[in-house]
């Protein structure tokens, strides 16, 4: 550092002091920018969404069932809240057991080389970009689901139970079920990673104590390992849930994008991120744009709540101040 106004005689004290002040200031500015960014996220969605919130009222907006950019210009977010809720909860429900099973397999059953390989593969699932999964979903998975799952069920219902047809909906292949299944696959790595970490931290004495009671391998896992690791399991699940809520591209490409309730099981639907993606680029009307921003605000609030819940539960369930997750 070359500070010109310091006299030629070396004054290391000022050099240190000034250097420290400048450095700290720079660091503080950089840190502040993160704080501002986060605050900005909230502010932007509030400010830009204000027009819509004022128009419909916050509660009215959230409970509004009709989203009509065209004729009536009413915007209610309920369809997307519903879609997000169903896909997120559904994907977590689907993903939970397989994800924990994989973590148990890696930690308890697999040879070290196999465990490492599977661990890498699971992490690879998380690394594959959502759009790549999306394009595979559009051209491979959705048609396959249509042929192998939806159509047979649909045809069966036509023959045997036609009253089910409206609930089943149009089996085009793009819809909530397809999106939920793919979403489940995408969130598995988050549950598995934290579960595996928690399992690895179970002390060997706990396992030995269980074996010493005459337990089989699975019984040791069930009795001593998994309960001890439950903090990590729960933290991983909540983290996965948070990701499922915000997952955008693969869901948007698979969910069919229908903006009005009711959603049927096989038929098209929508989530909060998917509607933003679908309509943002074409939205010219300012109320429309503002409504989309307001959906962003709802998304922000829900993500925030889930994150806070995760932090709280992690602290509560940690065993003896252990470093679970």
């Amino acid at each position: 550092m070359d500070i010109k106004h310091i006299p030629k005689k070396p004054l290391p004290a000022i050099y240190s002091w000034l250097g420290d002040r400048i450095f700290l200031t720079v660091i503080i500015v950089l840190g502040l920018s993160i704080i501002l960014m986060t605050a900005g996220l909230a502010l932007v969605t509030i400010v830009d969404g204000w027009e819509a919130i004022k128009e419909f009222g916050f509660i009215g907006f959230i409970t509004g069932k009709v989203w009509d950019p065209g004729v009536n210009r009413t915007f209610g977010a309920l369809p997307f809240l519903f879609g997000t809720a169903v896909t997120s909860v559904g994907s977590l429900a689907l993903a939970f057991l397989p994800a924990v099973a994989i973590a148990v397999f890696i930690s308890e059953y697999a040879a070290p080389w196999l465990g490492k390989m599977i661990d890498n593969m699971v992490n690879l699932i998380a690394a594959v970009p959502s759009v790549v999964i999306g394009i595979w979903g559009i051209f491979v998975f959705a048609p396959w689901m249509r042929e192998t799952v939806y159509l047979p069920i649909y045809n069966w219902a036509i023959e045997n139970n036609p009253s089910l047809l409206p609930i089943l909906g149009n089996p085009i292949g793009y819809g909530m079920v397809s999106a939920t299944i793919i979403l489940a696959l995408m969130i598995i790595p988050f549950i598995t990673a934290l579960t595996k970490d928690a399992i690895d931290q179970v002390p060997v004495e706990q396992r030995e104590a269980a074996y010493a009671l005459g337990a089989t391998h699975w019984e040791v896992i069930r009795m001593a390992v998994i309960p001890y690791a439950r903090g990590g399991i729960l933290a991983g699940s909540i983290l996965a849930f948070g990701r499922a809520i915000g997952e955008t591209m693969a869901v948007a490409m698979l969910i069919g994008n229908k903006n009005t309730l009711p959603f049927s099981i096989f038929g098209p639907a929508a989530t909060m991120p998917s509607v933003i993606i679908n309509e943002f680029r074409e939205a010219v009307n300012s109320l429309h744009l503002s409504s989309l921003m307001a959906i962003g605000l709802v998304l922000f609030i829900i993500s925030l709540l889930v994150n806070l819940l995760a932090a709280y539960i992690t602290k509560k369930l940690a065993i003896g101040g252990g470093k679970t997750a």
Binding site: W17, I34, G246, M253
Partner: protein, 292 residues
């Protein structure tokens, strides 16, 4: 013995249960890993077919180009991706590292609890919201979509990850290193920059690679910041100040378009993007393994 009279699960049954669970758990693992293999398989097989000389040298143009079999490709997309990704790195690196230094090296500072909470919150936010932020901050005032806005959006995605991993890498450096620096009279900032940071280099780079691999694959924030472009910009500044095409966003557009020819180019974009991400991912795992 009481125990024998009342025991309901014989040893044989418990052994069978044990074996059943092994089978179930193994099956689950296979069940989950199979789609991964299938997905990568499809992307590779379909994508390779789309990669030809034109792919890397021509711009996209209108749909009729592809439909008529005229030369079309994604050179503008690849270049645009490079520009936007580079911009995001340049923006994210100082902020992320700076915040990481703050959290790790100045733990007594009053700002830290707030910074940590905010950083973790930002980390947990969906990328699409970060795109909306960049839209309002950059696109609106500029009056146009731009590569710069895309870079900012991706930077916001990367920053919390970099901050976290930097903090982690720095705090893993033992105190003795700082002590040594202070003992020879170095000011605090020199201790940090000249002794601690270099020691934590590989951990920080690993964190970078992970953050970068994440950001590179994001499409949602780019859809309303860099927006996309079917053509190369006229001047190189167009990459930064005008709408620009990027692989994730273009992949999305091609996939949902009604044109079959564009679908196959979509697979091509997919394999390029996937390849890029896998290289970054492998590099980060390799570095991570080296540290251990």
């Amino acid at each position: 013995m009481w125990e024998q009279v009342k025991a309901r699960k014989s040893l044989r049954q418990r052994s069978i249960n044990d074996k059943i669970m092994v089978a179930l758990i193994t099956l689950s693992t296979i069940l989950v890993l199979t789609p991964l293999v299938i997905i990568i398989g499809y992307v590779v097989v379909n994508g390779i077919g789309a990669l030809n000389y034109d792919f890397f040298t021509e711009e996209l143009g209108s749909p009729t180009r592809a439909m008529r079999g005229q030369p079309t490709g994604l050179v503008h997309t690849i270049l645009g991706t490079a520009v936007v990704d580079l911009l995001s790195l340049i923006i994210a690196a100082p902020i992320g590292i700076g915040a990481g230094i703050m959290l790790s090296e100045y733990p007594e500072h009053k700002l830290n609890p707030l910074l940590r909470v905010m950083n973790d919150t930002l980390n947990g936010m969906p990328a699409i919201l970060k795109g909306l932020l960049a839209f309002t901050l950059i696109v609106r005032p500029m009056g146009t979509f731009s590569g710069l806005a895309g870079g900012v959006a991706l930077a916001i995605v990367m920053i919390p990850i970099i901050a976290r991993s930097t903090e982690s890498a720095l705090s893993n450096i033992p105190w003795s290193i700082r002590e040594a620096g202070l003992a020879i009279g170095l000011p605090r900032w020199r201790v940090i920059l000249s002794t601690v940071v270099p020691a934590a280099k590989s951990g920080m780079v690993t964190g970078f690679l992970i953050a970068f691999a994440r950001a590179v694959g994001e499409a949602a924030p780019l859809l309303f910041t860099s927006f996309g472009n079917n053509y190369l910009p006229n001047h190189w500044t167009g990459f930064i100040f005008g709408p620009v095409d990027t692989l994730p966003q273009r992949l999305y557009s091609l996939a949902i378009s009604p044109y079959k020819e564009w679908h196959s180019m979509g697979w091509g974009a997919g394999i390029v993007l996937l390849g890029f991400v896998i290289v970054l991912f492998s590099a980060s795992r390799f570095l991570y393994r080296k540290r251990k």
